[in-house]
């Protein structure tokens, strides 16, 4: 428990958390092992896969460190943050506190004490008086409540962790693509999405580097049927999800599915039975060959026969790759609607494209808790950083040559330097408002090293 509550231990855990996070940023996440084998030297690639560095954020080590941080934070909160009450009001050696000053004022000690107490009370300080062995002390506190800022910040962090756990326990998410005119079903809740039409807008923009084709809008026009069984019209755009019974459906991607026709010696033979999306492929029956549809080319540059810059389907084609077993045997850019010869009497026609829309969906009942946690955390930070609990010790005595001598010292939860300017201002204000004694000698305000 002692170790867990130790701040340097907590900081070490934060450092490990930071390090694991850094690895996660540098090593691409969620690829399959062949990707790492290609991208890194063999021992490193093996290490990445073996140590789960390819899925680090959900690895035991990562979750374990966060768990330890929560334990450490809880231990510190219960042993240090919560029990830390306001220190007892005790007399101090004023001159021994780095922030101190003495001001000579007129009147006797009793009246000066009252004036000083009223002075601080009027400026929002909580003033308390105590007598110790016949000497009366005045204590003035400011922002004492702000000691709770740390507690608030720590609670915020716990709430965020709790909200995330709620999602893991009860939420779900996924993605699906629907071809125009077709219907998809979200398995977790049975909602159906019937895509009537997908549209996009891409504009050519002149920049210094030449023409850039900038996407402006993606929009799916769909009919969505949720739990109530009623079909609702839905226009789904980027940044404008649709809420189906608490499950949000988002516009994520789009693409051009291709309707392939395969013939052998002029007669149709079985090819793919549905339009294929980028990355999908099919085997040619009775051979060891397969064809993969790699990507869509909106505009074929007729002068070079190569893909042009404009992604819009002006003169469309597709890039295909042929495989023999697992071995690539050649690729080609083929225009839509113009059959190409695959050899051995086979001809492939990329007959037409069908736009499809890619959606993501997500049900996350933890969001309100995470949201509240985030703002509680932020409030805790602001309280801790901007409201500095400070205490003034004031001792007023009759001065030898008449009048009274006011000794002031200040301390804060964050040392003295942070309060230096403020203390100087306070002393200055006391001086300005206090009638000075005859033969006044004023002690200089404290200086903790200067610019």
């Amino acid at each position: 428990m002692r170790l867990f509550a130790h701040v340097p231990f907590g900081v070490s855990l934060l450092a490990i958390w930071g390090l694991l996070t850094l690895i996660g940023v540098i090593v691409e996440q969620g690829k399959d092992p062949s990707f790492y084998a290609g991208a890194y030297a063999p021992p490193i690639a093996r290490l990445i896969v073996r140590l789960d560095l390819d899925n680090i954020y959900h690895s035991a080590a990562y979750l374990g460190v966060i768990g330890l941080i929560l334990c450490s934070m809880a231990a510190a909160t219960f042993t240090k943050v919560i029990p830390r009450r306001i220190p007892r009001l005790n007399p101090v050696k004023i001159d021994a506190i780095p922030l101190h000053a003495t001001v000579h004022v007129s009147g006797d000690a009793e009246s000066a004490r009252e004036r000083i107490a009223a002075f601080f009370a009027a400026r929002g300080w909580q003033v308390r008086k105590r007598e110790f062995g016949g000497t009366e002390w005045t204590f003035a506190d400011k922002n004492n409540w702000a000691r709770r800022g740390v507690l608030v910040a720590h609670i915020g962090f716990v709430l965020i962790a709790a909200g995330t756990t709620i999602y893991w326990a009860k939420g779900y998410s996924g993605q699906f693509a629907v071809l125009s005119g077709q219907t998809a079903t979200i398995p977790e809740n049975g909602t159906t999405v019937d895509l009537k039409r997908f549209a996009y807008r891409i504009d050519p923009v002149q920049t210094k580097a030449g023409t850039v084709y900038q996407p402006i809008d993606y929009v799916s026009d769909a009919t969505i049927t949720g739990r109530d069984g009623v079909a609702h019209n839905a226009i789904i755009r980027v940044n404008q999800p649709y809420d189906a019974d608490g499950t949000l459906i988002y516009q994520a991607t789009y693409g051009f599915a291709i309707d392939f026709r395969l013939t052998k010696d002029g007669r149709p033979v079985p090819g793919p039975d549905h339009p294929l999306k980028e990355g999908e492929g099919f085997a040619i029956d009775g051979t060891s060959r397969a064809i993969q549809y790699q990507r869509f080319v909106g505009t074929i540059d007729r002068s070079t026969g190569q893909p042009g810059a404009d992604p819009r389907p002006n003169d469309p084609g597709i890039v295909i790759q042929a495989f023999d077993g697992d071995r690539p045997v050649g690729g080609a850019l083929i225009p839509l609607g113009q059959p190409v010869d695959l050899g051995a009497g086979y001809k492939l026609d990329a007959a037409r494209y069908v736009l499809y829309s890619g959606f993501q969906y997500r049900y996350d009942p933890g969001i309100p808790v995470v949201g509240i946690g985030a703002f509680v955390l932020l409030a805790g930070l602001c309280i801790s950083f901007y409201f500095l609990p400070a205490r003034l010790f004031v001792l007023v005595r009759d001065a030898a040559g008449g009048g009274a001598e006011v000794g002031l010292a200040a301390t804060t939860v964050r040392g003295y330097e942070v309060f230096e300017e403020r203390f100087a201002e306070i002393i200055e204000a006391v001086r300005r408002t206090e009638p000075v004694a005859p033969e006044n000698e004023v002690t200089t305000t404290p200086v903790l090293g200067g610019v």
């Binding site: 930071g18 940023v25 021994a96 506190i97 850039v212 940044n239 999800p241 930070l381 939860v413 610019v451």
Partner: protein, 327 residues
Amino acid sequence: MDPTRQLLDQALLEIGIAAYVTGALVLFAYFLTRRPVLRSIGMPLAILGAASQFAELGARWWMTGVWPLTNLYGSLSLFSACAVTIFVVFAYRYEMDFIGGPVLALAAIALGYATTWNEGYMPAVPALQSYWIKIHVPIVITAYASFMVAFCLSLLYLVKAAVEHRYRTGSPSVRGVAAGAGASIDVPLNYAALPGFGAVRTDTPALASAAAAGDGAAQWLSGLPSLAKLDIMQYRVIAVGLPLLSLGIITGAMWAKEAWGAYWQWDPKETAALLSWIVYAAYMHLHTRPEWRGTRTSIVSVIGFASIVFCYLGVNIWISGLHSYKM
């Protein structure tokens, strides 16, 4: 866009760069010589540079109707303008003008680099067409900018502390005079009581004695704020940056939830921001311990700024993801 307007855009940009470059030189000279006249020239240049940059971004927005922070040019411009603004505010509030040279130099470098990403006037891609961009980006950039100012202070702290270390003789420094001060929650280190003068934080005694003995470098360095003050200045600037970074991550998460479906997707950019957040959270925890304040926290602040540069530029340029401006 009509050429007069483009000319205005270009002129404002050039004024900004020119003001930063000359301001940086003048304030470096002030840093070296402490001649007040140099500060009186340098500070207005800093203000002029930031003002013309804000005007340039505003002019772009007005002229094209497109929010100017959708590419690296706009965001880096805002970064340098914010860093200089934060510096100016802190300089007037807490006498921090001496750090103007490095701040303006970094601002000039950021702005110069920004111009290499100046593609002209592009409309935003669908993912960036959201009111969130107007909330999230300025907050995050302001956080980065304050960390940049803190970074300059941390470097200065580390230099001063290292030199102090070199000058230090075997003599024990004055320690803990006030350690018995009852209700003090911290353990004050190295305070020397001076009769009639409160107390002086003597955390550079070796430097001070070398200065008294006529050592020029020591004289110059001991004229800078004490280590304790440099530490508090860093703390204050980071105390602006960390809540802003937190708010930036929160608003980013809110936007992500609206745009991509999940408030957190472990996208490289958001994860790198989390990394920076962790580093500065560690800074704050170290800073609660008097004996760790100073050199260690300054090193963490330097690491923190390195993580910011990585998050801001490294991820955008080297690691593609949902956040890359190049998408």
